[in-house]
Symmetry: D2
Subunit: 149 residues, 4 copies
Amino acid sequence: MKTVSVIGDGGAPEGSLLYETAREVGRLVAERGYVLITGGLFGVMEGASRGAKEKGGLTVGILPHYENLSNPYVDIKIPSGMGHARNVIVVSSASKIVVAVGGNYGTLSEIAHALKLGKKVVGFRTWEIEGIENYENSKDFVAYLSSLL
Amino acid sequence: MKTVSVIGDGGAPEGSLLYETAREVGRLVAERGYVLITGGLFGVMEGASRGAKEKGGLTVGILPHYENLSNPYVDIKIPSGMGHARNVIVVSSASKIVVAVGGNYGTLSEIAHALKLGKKVVGFRTWEIEGIENYENSKDFVAYLSSLL
Amino acid sequence: MKTVSVIGDGGAPEGSLLYETAREVGRLVAERGYVLITGGLFGVMEGASRGAKEKGGLTVGILPHYENLSNPYVDIKIPSGMGHARNVIVVSSASKIVVAVGGNYGTLSEIAHALKLGKKVVGFRTWEIEGIENYENSKDFVAYLSSLL
Amino acid sequence: MKTVSVIGDGGAPEGSLLYETAREVGRLVAERGYVLITGGLFGVMEGASRGAKEKGGLTVGILPHYENLSNPYVDIKIPSGMGHARNVIVVSSASKIVVAVGGNYGTLSEIAHALKLGKKVVGFRTWEIEGIENYENSKDFVAYLSSLL
């Protein structure tokens, strides 16, 4: 199975542009037959997982802790217990494409690890880093991602 | 989704008692609706994954390297790049039950991590460690496992 | 610099045979010019670190968390944040010799990882595992270890 | 003991501005009594370690592999075997200050992890990331760092 990883702002609330854009990404990922990989927690991770489940997709959450705690849209929980080092696994688990939606330093570490590992990183309102394509407009972003999947 | 982790001898060849017992475990795990977690490599990991796929199950392989390399029966590859530390994740990803089939020091580390994390470990011809149930007879072993799932 | 790792019962209180034996091990390690590596926490880890400092040695603690919290005899703190996966690093950091003093499942995982990595494991009242030498008598144990360092 | 972590371009050759600046950082770190933490490999990691040893300092190298292989100026080798995840440990091991000298995506991941963990990051010709101070002039950079240590 092919996978896409979605990373980003873990604090974006339901209804926000970041959360809802991630949700649309999740739907798209599922519709195209990819398994969704996230860090399993909240905000963008939840939005993407929720969207994927709305389209009958399969979702994996690679958690920083050992507890089974995740957002409710994660099918398979991988409780790594590795703290921030789990960020490496979230992006190394993408077959090719990593999608970044907003995000702070944790997301930046994931973008960096993804680029180091040779993944293609597509961003929406995320860090402006050489090597990634970063969209400001949600529609353009989803259209571009759609062309890649 | 509920998960079962299968660990054990990574060198057991197809047709050997360990490989074929793992295969039977894989079938059972899939039939009972669990997702199978393994280290994604060969021997027992392959046997279990193969058995699960024979019954239409879903298999996850948590790999020690970053490459996409695994046995051919792994659906979702998690290339952790963490070396032996991935052993911790293989067992922390079990909802409750870890099954050990044969195995050497790597398997022993997984048994130890599993017991430390409070998982139930069921063994077939594996390490005799306080806290695990270890069967010598394949039929008894599968029957017991069947009663747990 | 050459290193020796000491692992074992994290709950052994000051004055107990395990704690005091670890302390003697720490003294010996420091006297022979090795840097001491431990998991940085309490019980045997503390005893060994304390003994090493009594002889002017240098101590490293590889911690499971991100906090700076350790026993007071750790010179260099490596707060890995990797949970149980830090056990791998504790033993991979030994130049050659890993010393196990008592211990439970966490220690067993370290013994297994050490043997997998080709380290020599010397034990005192620890797990009876094929491939390690395990002493019941403290004096014999220290004499044997002394012959190795 | 207090520690400073130095990260950066692993390919900078001896004699280059990045290597020699890192070397000066290493000297400064050692003179002020800090233990130097690096990733233990080459380029900036070697330059910093070499500088620290020139001033009688103590150096720790947190290696991505299990082998004992490092630059020749590393006193204590921590062969983590964790691949890129060792980047987290390199910066989590800094008491407070992380120094970035040049660097590519690996360094960016370390800067991000450092900022996430609340470390102060001081940079020389490295990534322009919100939250770090990044100097273009070597003299100014060293003077500023000197004021912090």
